[in-house]
């Protein structure tokens, strides 16, 4: 059984202009000790689907339907009080902006000891000792000094390390990393990613890795879910997607074409996906990607495809999943 199983999740937001279907029938699973990468453009519902798991939606957001099973337990029906126990203890989150996700008026010690005190009921002094261990675990040099410092005295990478230390404090089963490396420069990014990989090996934590950076996903993830307009358009092992796939969604194909590769000849221009993401209130009928898809047919504009398992482990939401066939037809 999977550690986390999301089935047909619908998360909507009430706005002045109508209901925005931010997450529209999303399903994915996170296996124990593995990493699930979720890829997609801004506004594709990556973060909302992850936040739905912890019920950390804005006040106008709500889970319309679907099920989220964590270790066999249904999370959507839990009370507020029960959710407090899950958050930070079983499932914790690392955010994108290490600059703002630490409380500016607390010292590192105070920040990191909070989960120890809240979830494990440790005293301040006991928690402070555990904080030092955690800081060492996330490879912070000189933790005795850093622990007394304030966020503004730390660099971005150090802050993200503190954030990771805080998230991993209670040894959660799942770590949701919401673009943890986006705000960092490339060298620090590499360090943080390596750190996360190392920690996963050490502690066996499952990671849900949300990013729009395909390179990072390739490096981190075991499985990949590609999201577009609140839907999972492709679900496959990373090896399949980044190898030489037989089946692929046109959106995944477009994404892969739009990043430079070492084997791309230098005179070939990168291919951009034409058009823009449709407005969330004016989603097209039929396939959501059809208006931008170069393979789209009349059928695509009228009828919505289902996520079909094209081969074991790989699902694609397209009428024409076979790469070679559709290229020939197009």
């Amino acid at each position: 059984m999977s550690l986390l199983e999301v089935r047909d999740l619908n998360t909507f937001f009430r706005t002045k202009h109508g209901i925005v279907k931010a997450v529209n029938g999303v399903s994915y699973t996170v296996e124990a000790g593995k990493t699930l990468g979720i890829v997609g453009e801004s506004g594709s519902g990556k973060t909302v689907s992850a936040m739905s798991i912890l019920q950390l939606l804005d006040t106008n957001g709500f889970i319309e339907s679907g099920s989220i099973k964590f270790d066999g337990r249904e999370l959507t029906t839990l009370t507020r009080r029960e959710m407090y126990e899950i958050r930070g203890n079983d499932i914790s989150v690392i955010f994108q902006e290490p600059m703002t996700s630490l409380n500016p008026v607390f010292t590192v010690e105070r920040q990191v000891s909070e989960p120890f005190m809240v979830h494990q009921g440790l005293s301040k002094r006991e928690a402070a000792l555990r904080v030092l261990d955690m800081l060492r675990d996330v490879r912070i040099p000189n933790p005795e000094v850093v622990t007394k410092q304030y966020p503004h005295q730390l660099s971005g990478g150090m802050r993200q390390r503190v954030m990771i230390a805080m998230a991993l404090a209670c040894r959660p089963r799942i770590l949701i990393a919401d673009e943890p490396s986006t705000a960092l420069d490339v060298t620090i990014q590499a360090q943080i990613l390596k750190l996360m990989n190392d920690l996963q090996e050490e502690k066996g934590t499952s990671i849900m890795f949300i990013t729009h950076d395909l390179g990072v996903v390739c490096q981190m993830a075991d499985d990949v879910a590609v999201m577009y307009c609140g839907q999972v358009v492709e679900m496959a092992p990373a090896r399949t997607i980044f190898g030489k796939p037989q089946f692929s969604h046109p959106y995944t194909e477009g994404l892969l074409f739009s990043i430079p590769r070492l084997d791309t000849p230098s005179d070939v221009r990168l291919e951009a996906i034409p058009g823009a993401v449709p407005h969330p209130l004016k989603l097209p009928d039929g396939c959501k990607f059809a208006p931008r898809c170069k393979y789209a047919t009349e059928r695509c504009k009228v009828e919505e495809p289902e996520l079909v398992e094209v081969q074991p482990g790989q699902g694609v939401r397209c009428f024409y999943p076979d790469l070679k066939e559709r290229r020939k037809d197009g």
Partner: protein, 623 residues
């Protein structure tokens, strides 16, 4: 040079360059200076640095702390007496010269007549001087000694509350000062005696509360002055038999020639002073003296007996080792000159009038003793003089004769306490409501903000006046003080609430709030333990400024008479009297001093608040 430096550097601290290179390149170890980690700069430290870099803020802090210190510690030294009412000290201007005998008289004193707040003195050349608070009204001033007095060959002088009497060697009586209350209207038998010279060999001249007395050697007593409050008569049977008299506030007693004491006034047995101790009726009394409400009689064997209303310790005479030569009464105390040349003082000591200095209690060289209401003058054998008692009020007195300094210090404590507690109440309410409204938003916000608008829309002063009039009439002054604190707190939280709400709106969108939520921290803890510290700096500024406002509001209410009632002093009700032109013009010290210290205090608090705001948000200075 480098050689020298190397030799001087202690070996422990620095490794040689080679060793360092070896460690860094071969062992790949870097020297981390664990002894001197980066100096940790907390946000608080930075704010403090910014704050103290600003001169106005530092000035504000220093002055405010001084005022606070005076107001907090002062009341222990300047004790407040709520029942204080001293008729003779009403509206005394700031002064320190009530016992300051003029330089020209030093060493040449021949006679002194101490009054209530002033003194009249004659030097050996017969020149008359005055000192102290001599002004009676705008026109009348005892300082203006008439020429006839100055030129006459004086035999005796006496000073009362607002007039002075002088007698020359020809038996001519002269009165100056306030004469509006018959102080200079001599009785017919006096004028007759003065004209004929019969029974007019005056041996004692006394002046009291607008009354005067002259005693003839033959025992004839002449009394004149304001009869409205004073028992200014003499029973016929005593006339011609009186050896000495002493004035109380509204009566007098006499020592008769037969050595007995008698109440010789018209009231007779009706007066409380007519209950004279038996020991003084044995014909052995040698001297009498009187204070405001008590009398004392000295017998041949050196014993002193007291009667009257002994409420202020007038009878608590210390043990003495010598015979009393002369006993004199002030308003609430006695001083006595002893045979061995020492002086003892006892009785009420509010103005140190019963605390004679060691020089006269043990010096043994006092020649003469003069006692005024609160002043004592001892003339030594070498002609020098020693004084003790009330020398003046540094900030003057009010319409009840109360020391303004004491009232300002004690009033400050009340005002600051009321302001501080009102701010605390307002802040607690404002933070809780503002925090809830700002964090939860939506319906909670709408409901709370509507409530705050209703409270903010109440006309503050009228509402507080009505509230304090309706509820306050049933309360004692202390409860009323609490009522004012609570009323101020309950009516002034709106600003704080709006500020906190706006800040929470901004803060709750910050990622650290989401992070805290994701950590499984409960909402209450997020509001008050995570967001509130981020808002605290602004809250502190607003609290500081609100403190000044609360103090001002309390003062406004007290000034209008709806705040803390008199006689409890506050900086507001000290100004209560200052609402007519007489007080504003003539008794300027009654409003200038409270207004100045109050103004200083609020300005300093505002300077502190501004400094704090600038220190916490350096952008606000970049205009």
């Amino acid at each position: 040079m480098s050689k020298k430096m190397k030799n001087n550097t202690p070996k422990k601290k620095k490794r040689s360059t080679l060793a360092r290179w070896f460690r860094q390149t071969v062992l790949r170890k870097h020297d981390i200076d664990y002894d001197n980690p980066e100096v940790i700069e907390t946000p608080l430290k930075i704010v403090a640095q910014n704050f103290f870099a600003k001169k106005t803020a530092v000035f504000g802090v220093v002055v405010f702390l001084l005022i606070l210190l005076v107001v907090l510690i002062g009341p222990y030294f300047f004790k407040l007496n709520l029942g204080e009412h001293e008729q003779t000290l009403i509206h005394v201007p700031p002064s320190n010269n009530m016992m300051k005998i003029p330089k020209e008289m030093h060493g040449r004193i021949s006679d002194i007549a101490p009054g209530t707040t002033f003194g009249i003195g004659v030097d050996v050349d017969g020149k008359v001087y005055s000192w102290g608070h001599t002004r009676v009204t705008e026109r009348i001033d005892l300082k203006d000694i008439p020429d006839e007095v100055q030129e006459a060959d004086l035999k005796m002088i006496a000073a009362g509350m607002d007039h002075a009497v002088a007698l020359d060697t020809n038996g001519k009586l002269m009165v100056w000062g306030n004469t509006r209350r018959s102080q200079a209207r001599f009785t017919p038998d006096m004028e007759k005696a003065q004209k004929s010279g019969k029974n007019w060999n005056i041996v004692q001249l006394e002046a009291g509360m607008q009354v005067s007395a002259a005693l003839d050697e033959g025992g004839y007593l002449y009394l004149w002055g304001n009869r409205s409050n004073f028992d200014l008569g003499i029973k016929r049977e005593y006339q011609g038999n009186i050896a000495k008299i002493a004035f109380m506030a509204n009566e007098y007693i006499s020592l008769l020639k037969d050595g007995n004491v008698a109440y010789t006034g018209i009231k007779g047995k009706g007066s409380p002073f007519s209950k004279i101790p038996d020991e003084l009726l044995q014909g052995k009394t040698v001297d009498i003296a009187a204070t405001d409400r008590t009398c004392a009689g000295l017998t041949e064997d050196g014993k002193v007996y007291f009667w009257g209303r002994l409420e202020k310790g007038e009878n608590e005479m210390p043990e003495i080792d010598s015979k009393i030569v002369k006993i004199e009464g002030g308003r609430f105390h006695y001083s006595a000159l002893l045979e061995n040349g020492n002086v003892v003082s006892w009785g009420n000591n509010d103005y140190n009038q019963a605390k004679a200095p060691a020089q006269v209690t043990t010096g043994g060289n006092v020649k003469e003793l003069y006692v005024g209401n609160f002043q004592n003058y001892a003339i030594l054998e070498n002609g020098e003089h020693v004084t003790w008692g009330l020398s003046g009020f540094p900030l003057g007195t009010d319409n009840f004769g109360r020391d303004m300094l004491v009232r300002i210090i004690n009033g400050g404590r009340v005002t600051m306490l009321v302001g501080a507690i009102a701010v605390v109440i307002a802040t607690i309410i404002g933070v809780i409501l503002g925090g809830l409204a700002g964090y939860f938003g939506g319906t909670v916000d709408i409901v709370i903000m509507r409530i705050s608008e209703v409270v903010g829309g109440l006309p503050f002063i009228p509402f507080a006046m009505i509230l304090s009039a309706v509820i306050g009439s049933r309360l004692d002054p202390t409860q009323r003080m609490y009522l004012i604190m609570i009323v101020l707190g309950i009516l002034s939280w709106v600003g704080t609430c709006r500020l906190v709400r706006a800040q929470f709106f901004a803060q709750r969108e910050m990622e650290y709030v989401t992070a805290a939520k994701a950590m499984g921290i409960r909402e209450g803890a997020i509001i008050f333990r995570h967001i509130l510290p981020n808002v605290f700096s602004l809250l502190l500024v607003s609290m500081t400024l609100d403190f000044a406002t609360s103090m001002l509001t309390e003062s406004t209410l007290s000034y209008l008479g709806f705040g803390i009632p008199l006689p409890t002093p506050t900086w507001g009700n000290l100004l209560t009297g200052a609402n007519n032109s007489i007080i504003i013009q003539q008794y300027w010290w009654r409003w200038v001093f409270p207004a100045v210290i109050f103004g200083m205090c609020t300005i300093c608090i505002n300077l502190i608040g501004d400094g704090l705001r600038d220190a916490m948000d350096p952008k606000s200075t970049e205009r």
